[in-house]
């Protein structure tokens, strides 16, 4: 039934074709994404970078079909997802999961952590022993078994992010989208969570879409990168290639602005100072 069998090794799992997304009113539209084309291939570790408001989270929501594009289309395993019904989206919901920046607001404070982790299993109607699945997941993210009975407020920020990752993995997704998933964490804890993510990607053969404003982290964890600037893809390619030889002035500014240990602060010369980019 599923088209998965027909998919060749490196055919894209997710694809955006000339996608435009607008918010705001008809008379005063905000173009969050404009004519964006990009793809996510199996085993990709794809970074999505850009300044605040460049459209990164919008891109994530569209990839997860939490919203529909105003123009263009999003394809999952080669099939257009425009106008699909809930049941038709079920396969995508299982296959693509997301972890957000703020572990405080993404976990229901009234739910025990075990119930939060099992929630996608229930809502997606996945059969099996949910309790033992929760234990497996806690183990995979390095949390003690007893965590299932605890509440989010009893955990540190880094531990809460582990819980959010466990929940995202519950439905055995193929693609994990991480939207600024480590940005709110302390330096020392950020390294732990990045290591965890990298290990899980390896272990479960996950495809990773890693959204971040932190170029150094993207360079560390990703193989490919898409650079967004004001809703448009200005550059994409292999991470090392883009870092060594950025083509677009914005990418150049982005890379030269990253502070380094004992380096020198250099104000990017190409950047347009006076345009408010809120």
């Amino acid at each position: 039934m599923t088209a998965a069998g027909a998919i060749q090794g490196s055919d894209p799992i997710l694809q955006m074709l000339a996608v435009t997304r607008r918010y705001g009113t008809r008379s005063n539209p905000v173009v969050a994404l404009s004519q964006v084309s990009m793809e996510v291939r199996p085993q990709d570790r794809l970074g999505v970078v850009g300044e605040s408001g460049s459209g990164k989270s919008t891109l994530a929501r569209l990839l997860l079909i939490l919203e529909d594009p105003d123009e263009g289309e999003v394809r999952f395993q080669g099939r257009s997802m425009s106008g699909k019904s809930r049941s038709e989206l079920a396969e995508l919901r299982r296959a693509v999961q997301i972890v957000f920046q703020d572990p405080f607001s993404s976990l229901d404070p009234r739910l025990r952590v075990g119930d939060s982790i099992a929630e996608p299993l229930r809502s997606l109607g996945i059969q099996g022993d949910h309790r033992s699945r929760v234990q497996e997941l806690l183990d995979a993210v390095g949390l003690p078994a007893g965590s299932a009975r605890m509440y989010p407020h009893q955990f540190s920020g880094g531990q809460r992010q582990r819980v959010a990752i466990a929940r995202a993995l519950a439905s055995q997704p193929r693609v994990l989208v991480a939207d600024e998933a480590v940005s709110a964490l302390d330096v020392s804890v950020r390294a732990q969570v990045l290591n965890l993510l990298a290990r899980l990607v390896e272990r479960f053969g996950l495809t990773l879409v890693f959204i971040s404003h932190d170029m150094a982290v993207v360079r560390h964890i990703c193989t490919r990168v898409v650079v967004l600037y004001r809703g448009q893809v200005v550059e994409q390619g292999q991470v090392e290639q883009v870092f060594r030889d950025p083509q677009h002035p914005y990418t150049q500014a982005l890379i030269s602005s990253v502070p380094t240990l004992g380096g020198r602060i250099v104000a990017p010369p190409t950047f347009d100072w006076e345009s408010p980019s809120s």
């Binding site: 170029m215 500014a253 004992g262 380096g263």
Partner: protein, 332 residues
């Protein structure tokens, strides 16, 4: 002679010290960085220096600016010091700006509060100041309200207000944390140039070692409300002595490297920063430290002169194998 000398600074919250025995000094014109992870007491330290601690918190110890003890100063004399001798730049520029007032007027007012000049002269100075913080069209841009500016532009207005009266010291608490990386680079470069131009000293607070080490000549590392290490920037980067500093450096190098650390193999520090009141007795870094021994049950003394460290078993010279690894990584 130090411009600012902080010693034995301690701030308690309901009997729990959030800042303990903090000490450092800043010379005139020096750029000093204060780094530490969330909750390490950086902001409380800055607020204590400024005499701006929130209700219910009191500072003990000593904060001496130009020979004057600030902690015992009356609120009236203290507020005269703020703004004329010390200026502050916060993470969120909107806390420092009046949303209902044109930004140019806010700069003009700051000039007039500290200098006896007429409205016209102050306005002229404002129009000269705005290009220095990157506004190319001051006549038009000074008429805008804060909400009509981007985050980076607002922070540059706050910086203009801070430098308006030529303070001896600018205290900047995470001034660029809320900004995009390109805007951060502009604001930091600006701050650095301005303090250099007018000979002000800078206390730059950040959780980002890369930021602090790029701007500052000396670095103070805080953990759990204490200063665990302080040294010149090159010294701290090449010869860290505290295990916490060394671990932070390893992690930062791993992430900041050019893809030579395989993903998933970043050096880490076990555990996480405890919550307030949950720090261990004795050395605050106990439980996360790989050099810990029984002696660490007792609080370690601070030793050294130019390079201070609070640890019973600090990393020593490059002959120490772990220290050597760090030193070797620097040029890479």
């Amino acid at each position: 002679m130090s411009l600012l000398e902080v010693s034995q600074l301690t701030v308690d919250v309901q009997g729990i010290p959030v800042v303990s025995d903090v000490r450092f000094a800043i010379s005139a014109g020096e750029r000093l960085g204060l780094i530490g992870e969330s909750g390490s007491g950086k902001t409380i330290t800055a607020l204590a220096i400024m005499g701006l601690l929130p209700e219910g918190l009191r500072a003990r110890g000593s904060v001496v600016l130009d020979g004057t003890e600030l902690l015992s100063l009356s609120e009236r004399r203290l507020s005269a010091v703020r703004g004329s001798r010390i200026a502050m730049v916060f993470q969120e520029p909107m806390t420092a700006l009046d949303p209902l007032m044109r930004v140019g007027t806010q700069i003009t007012d700051a000039i007039r509060i500290h200098e006896r000049v007429g409205r016209r002269a102050a306005r002229d100075r404002m129009l000269q100041l705005m290009p220095r913080v990157g506004f190319s069209n001051p006549r038009e841009q000074s008429r805008r309200f804060p909400h009509q500016l981007s985050g980076g532009q607002r922070q540059r207005i706050v910086i203009a207000i801070a430098i308006a009266c030529g303070p001896a010291l600018i205290l900047a608490d995470e001034p660029t944390t809320a900004l995009d990386v390109t805007v951060q680079a502009q604001v930091l470069a600006l701050l650095q140039d301005l303090v250099q131009d007018q000979g002000s000293a800078l206390l730059l607070i950040s959780h980002d070692l890369a930021v602090v080490s790029s701007v500052c000549q000396r670095i103070v590392v805080m953990y759990g409300g204490r200063v665990v290490e302080s040294a010149s920037t090159p010294e701290l980067l090449t010869r860290p002595r505290h295990p916490y500093t060394q671990a932070l450096l390893h992690t930062s190098r791993g992430i900041g490297g050019n893809g030579d650390t395989p993903a998933g193999h970043l050096p880490t520090i076990p555990g996480s920063v405890p919550e307030l009141g949950r720090f261990p007795s004795g050395c605050v870094f106990r439980g996360r430290c790989d050099r810990e021994q029984d002696r660490c049950l007792e609080a370690p003394p601070t030793t050294g002169s130019d390079h201070l460290v609070a640890c019973w078993f600090p990393l020593t010279s490059p002959s120490d194998p772990t220290a050597a690894v760090t030193t070797g990584g620097v040029g890479a």
